[in-house]
């Protein structure tokens, strides 16, 4: 029996794997010590648990455990990396290069630094959602201290060419920070092979708990330092003060260990389901795939259903299927997705998009149901859509003078 509702919004968050929860439980109750309590068994027990988790997290990305700074999540990691580098390397320069489809945690941090005197270059992406490497290299100047490009995009799942980006950065002596939130645990990410100097990621996108994440900070070739953004007891080698969230960190470690073991098999199974869903939905008339079809995460598909509005479309099934839309109506701002607009999509197509994010526990039965429900909802809404009727009558919508609000 199919259990409803179905969750297909794994880019927003993932459920905790039961094995993760099981690992965490003792650290709420009897093993509750403060990892910084150096003088008694409660503290030792907590510290040991954190050490093990630090190793598990480091191993997943091919790092040294000493290079892992635990944070409250990726927003904090993004802030710490970008602001921390900006302050630490102020004598070297004030220029940062990023791109216009980054997560708000990166874009808003950059905007904040602009007010403090930073110069930020926001690279445009190509229609497939990838940056142009020649454009990146051309943007580098003597004052450039950091390139901040996400590993994979949260809305369209596009995977950026990080190894190529970092080899350009190396050539010019510029540090590379990547927001690895969507990629780590889903596809192989190796900091040395990929040439990453700093990377933020978070547990809750990889079947771990919310409220815990990590910032990878390279210690060798080159040794990277960031200025702390939270002052206090000097935890995490002075880079991030605050009592460690021991149960969260233990869960994060376990989540990384599971990803390490199961990522490959998961990706294979999930991408099969994703492709099945995508192929079926792209057979519906006037539907379009957003983002690069090749260089992308295995579990994401972003599709525009032309002539219907995304939120209206979701309303046809959102009691039973949870997913996201790039439509303005799902946000308070009434602006459609800036990511889709950056791809050069017209606002009308951006308003018409749905993001499907599959996950570890997604089944084929759920996908079959989703195909049927989404197709029916799109057909039903098109019957109600004046734009669909005009399209069917051969009227070019661009020739109509719309009353713009």
């Amino acid at each position: 029996m199919l259990k409803l509702p179905i969750y297909l919004d794994h880019n927003a968050t993932t459920p905790c794997d039961p094995r993760v929860v099981e690992a965490m439980v003792p650290y709420f109750t009897h093993a509750f010590g403060n990892a910084a309590s150096r003088n008694h068994p409660f503290g030792w027990q907590a510290e040991e648990a954190v050490d093990i988790a630090r190793e598990q997290v480091a191993k997943l990305i091919g790092a040294d455990p000493k290079e892992i700074i635990f944070t409250s999540g990726a927003t904090e990691g993004d802030n710490l990396a970008i602001k921390g580098v900006y302050e630490m390397y102020a004598s070297k320069g004030n220029h940062i290069i990023t791109c216009n489809i980054e997560h708000k945690a990166v874009l808003d941090t950059c905007r904040h630094l602009e007010k403090e005197g930073a110069e930020i270059t926001y690279l445009n992406v190509k229609p497939n959602g990838l940056i142009d490497l020649a454009e990146l290299e051309a943007a580098i100047k003597p004052a450039t201290i950091l390139i901040a490009i996400m590993y994979a995009n949260n809305e369209i799942g596009t995977v950026m060419p990080i190894p190529e980006i970092s080899s350009i950065a190396r050539k010019h002596g510029v540090l590379v920070f990547t927001d690895g939130v969507q990629a780590v645990g889903k596809i192989p990410v190796e900091v040395n092979k990929d040439g990453i100097d700093l990377m933020a990621f978070t547990a809750h996108k990889m079947y771990g708990p919310k409220g815990v994440g990590a910032l990878y900070v390279r210690r060798k070739n080159p040794r990277v330092k960031v200025t702390a953004q939270i002052d206090g007891g000097g935890h995490e080698r002075g880079m991030r003060s605050g009592t460690l969230n021991v149960p969260g960190i233990v869960g994060f470690g376990k989540a990384c260990e599971i990803c390490m073991q199961e990522m490959e098999a998961d990706a294979k199974r999930i991408s099969f389901l994703r492709d099945k869903l995508e192929n079926a939905l792209l057979k519906v008339e006037e539907t379009y795939l957003n983002g690069d079809k090749e260089s992308r995460l295995p579990h994401v598909s972003n599709i525009s259903f032309k002539y219907v509005e995304g939120e209206g479309l979701m309303m046809g099934f959102n009691k039973n299927i949870a997913l996201s839309s790039g439509s303005a109506c799902t946000s308070a701002s009434l602006e459609p997705s800036y990511v889709l607009k950056a791809l050069g999509l017209g606002d009308d197509l951006a308003h018409s998009s749905l993001r499907f994010g599959l996950g570890r526990f997604t089944t084929e039965e759920q996908i079959d149901y989703t195909i049927e429900q989404v197709t029916n909802a799109a057909n039903k809404l098109r019957e109600m859509s004046p734009l669909w009727e005009m399209f069917k009558d051969g009227i070019d919508l661009n020739t109509i003078e719309w009353a713009h609000h």
């Binding site: 219907v308 509005e309 209206g312 309303m315 046809g316 439509s327 109506c329 606002d347 009308d348």
Partner: protein, 139 residues
Amino acid sequence: MAYSEKVIDHYQHPKNVGMLDKSKNNVGTGLVGAPECGDVMRLQIEVDEATGVIRDAKFKTFGCGSAIASSSLATEWLKGKSVDEAVKIDNMTIVEELNLPPVKIHCSVLAEDAIKAAINDYRKKNGLEELQYEESAIH
């Protein structure tokens, strides 16, 4: 954000979806909004020429559930009203009836604009002066 039951009901069972014959003199058509804004409404009225009463009303809407519900409700309210009464339909009564949250008020404004545009189209076709409306808040 959860939708009100009335919005869901109109979305699931929209009233008066369709098209009236635009070429007829007693049919007024209003097309408002823009695809880029995520809302387009086409609302039509058919007026009984002898009585001046709206005999039929139809809509098609591209937009979110609240936009669909606002236009569906508007067509229901239009039927049986005289053109002069119909002009007085205010977007806030739609907001109240459908329990729209502040972020969806623009949907009701669009429905009011669509009614007025349809009435003006009807008036124009019949040699009447087009009514001047105050600019709505979101223009």
